[in-house]
């Protein structure tokens, strides 16, 4: 048994717990008649797929820690990467629907990233992933260069560009601190998830990969705290003026 790999697996399972909890809450946050329903679902789907990927990787690491690598455990690794390849599709819908508000455009963008993901999966099963060695903290693997390039240029860079498109809204003076907090937290969480997923896929280091997954766990926690903030944070963000009778601005007010 390799304790380090088990610790790594535990971190992966914690990512699963937090991201799936967030996904479930996002799925049920709005009624289907609400304009934000599909946007919320797509954000939840992003974290669900990320969690699914980490579930496969976590189980793979547990098996590897006890029994070493095998053909059966490698299947889990393939499923993990397959799920990871599809995460940009819901993200594209989430961001483009927020910015443009046209379902057809958002769906078209989402489908194109889905195609990129499917091509990645096809090539993943064609070229395979070479599992080289079990380290003290992680399992060393080697992915085909073409797969890495597809992930970087077809998934990572477009996703980061889309995330950056939401940054100006954080600087708006006309929105409340609570809304700014929500937008900022989601942007940080998405950036952390993408940046450290990329580093993980690039297979840099042994202990470093555990740290990358810890950062993804932090990203998932930030996303959760962004959308479902504790009462203390809500009160702090709203400030002491809450003693004054709130003015009904309708949709202009926060909805948390």
């Amino acid at each position: 048994m390799i304790e380090g790999v088990l610790v790594h697996a535990l971190v992966c399972l914690e990512v699963v717990l937090v991201s799936h909890l967030l996904a479930m809450k996002m799925f049920t946050k709005y009624n289907h008649t609400d304009e934000r329903y599909l946007i919320s679902i797509s954000f939840g789907l992003f974290w669900f797929l990320l969690g699914l990927s980490y579930l496969c990787i976590g189980l793979y690491l547990i098996i590897a820690a006890y029994h070493g690598t095998s053909q059966i455990s490698s299947t889990l690794l393939y499923w993990g990467f397959s799920s990871l390849a599809l995460i940009t599709a819901p993200l594209a819908f989430f961001i483009i629907q927020i910015l443009i508000g046209d379902k057809r455009v958002s769906l078209a963008a989402s489908c194109s990233f889905m195609m990129v993901g499917l091509i990645f999966i096809f090539l993943l099963f064609r070229y395979g992933v070479d599992v080289a060695d079990i380290g003290s903290w992680s399992v060393d693997f080697k992915m085909h260069t073409l797969l890495l390039l597809i992930f970087i240029y077809g998934s990572y860079i477009p996703a980061i560009a889309m995330i950056m498109a939401l940054i100006p809204f954080v600087a708006l003076k006309t929105i409340s601190n609570l809304r700014k907090y929500k937008i900022t937290m989601s942007l940080i969480s998405l950036s952390l998830a993408y940046d450290f997923t990329l580093l993980g896929v690039m297979n840099i280091g042994d202990f470093e990969r555990l740290l990358f997954d810890v950062m993804i766990l932090i990203g998932a926690l930030i996303a959760y705290l962004g959308y479902f903030p504790p009462d203390g944070i809500v009160e702090w963000l709203r400030g002491p003026d809450t003693l004054v009778e709130p003015v009904d601005f309708g949709k202009w007010d926060d909805d948390i």
């Binding site: 996002m26 709005y30 304009e35 934000r36 919320s40 927020i98 910015l99 508000g101 809304r179």
Partner: protein, 121 residues
């Protein structure tokens, strides 16, 4: 409207400014339409009262517009009356019209931003 003045849109913009407590100028649909029609013809060019009414009749009556022309536009030197129902826009009036156009742009930006923010789950 083919020439870019849409009374319904101007009414929507004016209502937005009125909701912010700005009832005069940008928040006054009559003022907005008069300034824009005068600006359409340009500084020093003749604008007939009937031409202004083509746009304002949809949102207000003749009496109000006549009163507005006299008590605001003529009194403040935004227009010069050169005959019965005939006016020319002054440079000062052109500044006012330019400001009104900018308030439309500002409203469009606010509306767009607000819609994006509202869509954020």
């Amino acid at each position: 409207m083919t020439d870019g003045i849409d009374p319904e849109w101007e009414l929507e913009v004016a209502e937005f400014y009125r909701s912010l407590g700005i009832t005069q100028g940008p928040g006054d649909v009559q003022y907005r339409l008069i300034a824009l029609v005068l600006a359409k013809n340009g500084v020093g060019r003749l604008t007939r009262f009937s031409e202004i009414r083509e746009y304002t009749d949809r949102v207000t009556d003749k009496g109000n517009i006549g009163s507005k022309m006299k008590t605001v536009f003529q009194l403040q030197g935004l227009v010069k009356r050169i005959g019965r129902g005939e006016y020319v826009l002054t440079e000062k009036g052109a500044i006012a019209a330019e400001f009104i156009k900018k308030t439309s742009k500002y409203y469009s930006e606010v509306k767009l931003t607000q819609k994006i923010i509202e869509r954020f789950p």
